[in-house]
Symmetry: C2
Subunit: 476 residues, 2 copies
C-alpha cells in the first residue's frame, strides 16, 4: 500500500450535515404523512401478545440449582439475581433480579443523501413490550444472536451495509449502555453509516429526515428507545441563521450557543472529566451475582417474580404471535416495570448559553460505577408517602414546575424487546432565572457541546440521559 | 454565585508546560544525583521480604466453602477463581485465579513550578514485590483502604493536595485499568494536581522534572508502574526547536510530528474509535466468578497455588518487615509471574509521521472487553516449543529485530504491592522502511497525538501500552 498522503487526524466532520437534516421535514404535512405511514404499517400486520405462566414458556426454564430463568440454548439472555452494596443513597444493600445479556447488540442507521440532505432509513418495527406494538426504530436493531441467526429466523435486513467493507462510510460508532437498574452491563453498538448505493426498498422501511424523526419524538410512544439513543450520539453543528420568532426565542438562542464549541461554559472539559472521575472513585458500588431463588424480598409465583411491596418491577412470561418478525411465534420472559417512569433534564441559561444539569448516578448493572443521568430519574410511585429527605433531589421541584417552563414533554417507551409496557415521561424544563447555579453534590451543568463530546465515547451518559439529549436536539 | 463570565470550554492546555518539564534535567549530572538519592533512600531503611506458607498469613485465610483467599476484614482484595469463555485466540475456555480488588486506588502526582518549570514530587517507595525494593513512585499511591486508614497505619502523606478544595488545580484526572490477566476490573485514578503552596519536605520525596524521570525510565527497574501510567496520561505538546543531531534524528522528527494534532495520520480519529468499537463488539469474552478451589488445571499446596504446567503465575505468601511504611510488619499474598514478560511497540515512520502499532486485545479481567495493548504483549516462555501459528503475531519479528532498530529497551517492574518480582522487558522498535503498512486483524497504526487523545478517557489503553507511551514520550 503506497501512502500517497496522510489524512487529517480529525477527518471530515459530519455535524453540519446532521444539522441540515435536522432542519428538514419539520413541516406539518411531512409529519402527518409519516404518522399515516406508521399507522398503516401497524395495520398491515397481525400482532398478538398475551401473558402466559412461566411453565408455558417453551424454551425457557428455571435452573434447578439456582432458580435462574434461562433459554434452552444458553443464549439470548438470562434472568438471574444480583446483590448490590452501595455507599450511595439511603439503601446500603439490596437484592434484585436482573437481565444478563452479555451480547453486544447493534443499533444501526443507514443514511443516504437525497437532494443533498441526509435521510435515515427508519423501520416500523413491532416489539412485544410496546404499548402500541409498532414504533419507529433504527434500520437495524439486532442482537448478536439475531445477526448470527441463532433464532433460525430470516436474515436481518440491510445488515450488509454495516458489515460489508466498502458499502458505506461510518459517521457514528460507539458502544453505549442500556438501563443499569434492569440490565447487567448490557451494551449496544450505536452506529450510523452513510451509503451512496441504491438501497432496495421494503414496505416496513421509510427514508426520513432527522427533522421528521425529531417531530415524531415530540409525540408519545412513536420513536423507540433504540432510535433515540442513536439520534443522541449524532453530533450536531450550531445551526446557522436566527432562532425562530416566538416565546421560546431566547431558549433557542441559548441552545444554539450551547451547541457551539467556541462559546463559553460554566466548566472546562477537563473539569467535567475530573468531576466524573471523582464521582466514580468517590463511591463504592459492589455487586455480585446471586442465584435468582436467593434474591431477598422477591417472590416467585406461577406467572410472576415480584417484589414483596409490589414495587420496582416484575418478571413475567409472554407469548407473541407476529406477522412481520424473523420468527412468527415465540414465548419469552419480559420485565414489567411498575408505574410510569420520570426522566427530567433541568436546563438553565447561564451567561447566554444553555446548560443542562446532569447527575452522576451509580446503578447496580453498570460494572464501572456511575454514568451521567438526567437531573431527575425515578419512578415517582416508589416514593409516595415517604418523608421529604427520602425523595430524589429536584423531584418536588419538577412536579411543581409551571407549564410555561416546560420545553419538552412526552411519554416514551423503553426497549420493547425486553420490557413490557415500560413507559417513561421525558421532560426538559427550563428553570427560572433565580434558580441557583450552585450544584448540589453529584450534579453538574454541562453545555450541549460538552455532552456531545462525551457521547463520542461510551460509559458517560446513561440511556435515559441520551433519550433526553435526542429530545433536546429537536428543540432548536 | 454571579456568573461574570463563562470559561472557554477547553480550558487552559497544560501540554506545553509538560513538554517544557520533559526537556529539563536530562543532563548526566541531574540523573546521577537522582540515582544517588534513590540509592541513599534504599539504604536508609530496612526491608525484608520472606516467603511464608499460606497458614503463616496472619489475617488471611481460605474460605471453607469456596477456597477463596480472603482478608479477615473482608477488605483489601481477595484471590478468587474466574472462568473465561472467549471466541478470540486459540483457547476457547480457561480457568484461572484472579485478584479481585474492587476499590479504586489513587495514583497522584503533586506538581509545582520551580523557576518556571513544572516539577513532580516523586516518592522513593518500598514495595514488597519489587526486585530492588525501592523504586520511584507517585507522590501518593494509595488504595481506598489506605486513604481511609483501614490499615490502622499512619496517614497518607500529601493526600490533602488531592482532597482539600482550593489547594491545587487538576491537570490530569482519569480512571485507568491495571493488568487484565491478573486483576479483575481493577482501576486507579491517575491524577496530576498543581499547587502553588509551600509543600513540606520529607526525606523520601524529591522534586524532579519530567525529563529527569524519563531518563531514569531508560534504566531497569527505577520508575514503578504506577508512576509510568500517570506519566503516560500527561499530554505533551509538540516540542519546539529542531530534533537533536545524531543517528536518531529522523526518528525524533517523526515522533515530534506524531505529537502534533495538526499533522496527518493514517486513520482519522473517528475511524480509530470505530475500529475500537468493532473490535469490542466483534469478539465475545464472557467471564464468570467461580470458587478458587474449583479452578481447573491449578492446584494448591501449603505455600503455593500454581498451574499444573508451572506456567503463567503462582499465588504465594509473603512476610514483610519494613522501616518506611504505614504498617511495619505484615503478611500478604502476592501473585508471582513465571518468566520475564515482553511488551513491544512497533513504530513506523509513515509519510514523515511516526505511528505506533496498537493491538486490540481482550483480557479476562476487563469486564468491558478489549483494550489497546502493545504490538506484542506476552510471556515468551509460555510459547517455547509451540509451532509457528501458535505464537503471538510479531513475536518472532521482535526477537529477531537488529539492535540498531531498537529505540528503547529496559526491564520494568509491575505493581510491587501485589506482584512478586513481576518484570517485563519494554521495548520500542522502529521497523524498517519495507515493513508493511497493511495492518493484520486487530491491529492499527496510531499517532502519538491520537493515543494522547484516547488517554483522556479510561478503558482505551491497557497498562502495558501506557508504560510504553511513557517510554516513547521520553524519546523526543
Amino acid at each position: 500500500m503506497a501512502i500517497d498522503r496522510l489524512l487529517t487526524r480529525d477527518g471530515p466532520d459530519p455535524s453540519a450535515r446532521f444539522t441540515e437534516s435536522g432542519a428538514a421535514g419539520k413541516d406539518r404535512s411531512s409529519v402527518k404523512t409519516a404518522l399515516e405511514w406508521l399507522s398503516e404499517r401497524r395495520d398491515a400486520h397481525t400482532f398478538e401478545v398475551t401473558r402466559v405462566p412461566f411453565d408455558a414458556l417453551e424454551e425457557w426454564s428455571f435452573q434447578p440449582d439456582t432458580g435462574d430463568l434461562v433459554h434452552r440454548s444458553g443464549r439470548f439472555f438470562t434472568v438471574e439475581g444480583r446483590r448490590v452494596h452501595s455507599d450511595y443513597g439511603m439503601v446500603p444493600r439490596w437484592d434484585q433480579p436482573i437481565i444478563n445479556q452479555p451480547e453486544i447488540g447493534m443499533l444501526g442507521f443507514v443514511v443516504k443523501e437525497f437532494d443533498g440532505v441526509l435521510h435515515c432509513l427508519m423501520q416500523a418495527k413491532m416489539e412485544p413490550g410496546n404499548v402500541n406494538v409498532v414504533q419507529l426504530s433504527p434500520t437495524v436493531q439486532a442482537t448478536r444472536s439475531n445477526q448470527k441467526r441463532v433464532h433460525r429466523g430470516s436474515r436481518v435486513r440491510y445488515l450488509e451495509y454495516f458489515t460489508d467493507p466498502g458499502r458505506s462510510e461510518v459517521l457514528v460508532d460507539v458502544l453505549q449502555s442500556e438501563q443499569g437498574s434492569w440490565f447487567l452491563g448490557k451494551r449496544n453498538r450505536n452506529i450510523v453509516v452513510e451509503t451512496t448505493e441504491d438501497v432496495p426498498p421494503h414496505d416496513d422501511y421509510r427514508w426520513m429526515t432527522i427533522g421528521e424523526i425529531q417531530e415524531l419524538l415530540r409525540l408519545d410512544n412513536m420513536v423507540n428507545m433504540d432510535a433515540r439513543t442513536v439520534l443522541a450520539c449524532m453530533p450536531f453543528a450550531r445551526p446557522t441563521g436566527a432562532a425562530s420568532p416566538g416565546p421560546h426565542r431566547e431558549f433557542q438562542a441559548g441552545l444554539r450557543r450551547s451547541m457551539a464549541p467556541d462559546e463559553g461554559s460554566l466548566h472546562t472539559m477537563l473539569s467535567v472529566l475530573s468531576w466524573f472521575t471523582d464521582a466514580t472513585a468517590r463511591h463504592e458500588v459492589r455487586a455480585e451475582r446471586i442465584p435468582l431463588d436467593r434474591v431477598e424480598d422477591w417472590h416467585r409465583t406461577a406467572d410472576t417474580i415480584s417484589h414483596t411491596d409490589e414495587r420496582h418491577f416484575s418478571i413475567i412470561g409472554a407469548r407473541v404471535t407476529a406477522g412481520s418478525r424473523e420468527v412468527l411465534n415465540w414465548t419469552q420472559p419480559l420485565l414489567a416495570p411498575h408505574g410510569l417512569g420520570l426522566a427530567v433534564l433541568l436546563v438553565k441559561n447561564i451567561g447566554g448559553v444553555l446548560h443542562a444539569l446532569l447527575h452522576a448516578r451509580p446503578e447496580g448493572g453498570h460494572p464501572h460505577g456511575v454514568e451521567l443521568a438526567p437531573t431527575v430519574q425515578c419512578t415517582p410511585d416508589n416514593y409516595r408517602g415517604l418523608p421529604d429527605g427520602h425523595r430524589p433531589a429536584f423531584l418536588d421541584y419538577v412536579t411543581g414546575a409551571p407549564r410555561e417552563r416546560v420545553r419538552f414533554d412526552a411519554v416514551q417507551s423503553e426497549e420493547g424487546g425486553r420490557f413490557h409496557h415500560a413507559e417513561c415521561r421525558y421532560a426538559v424544563i427550563e428553570v427560572e432565572d433565580g434558580f441557583p447555579v450552585e450544584e448540589p453534590p453529584g450534579h453538574r451543568w454541562l453545555t450541549v457541546d460538552q455532552v456531545t463530546r462525551l457521547l463520542r465515547h461510551g460509559r458517560y451518559l446513561n440511556v435515559q440521559a441520551r433519550s433526553l439529549v435526542a429530545c433536546l436536539h429537536g428543540l432548536w
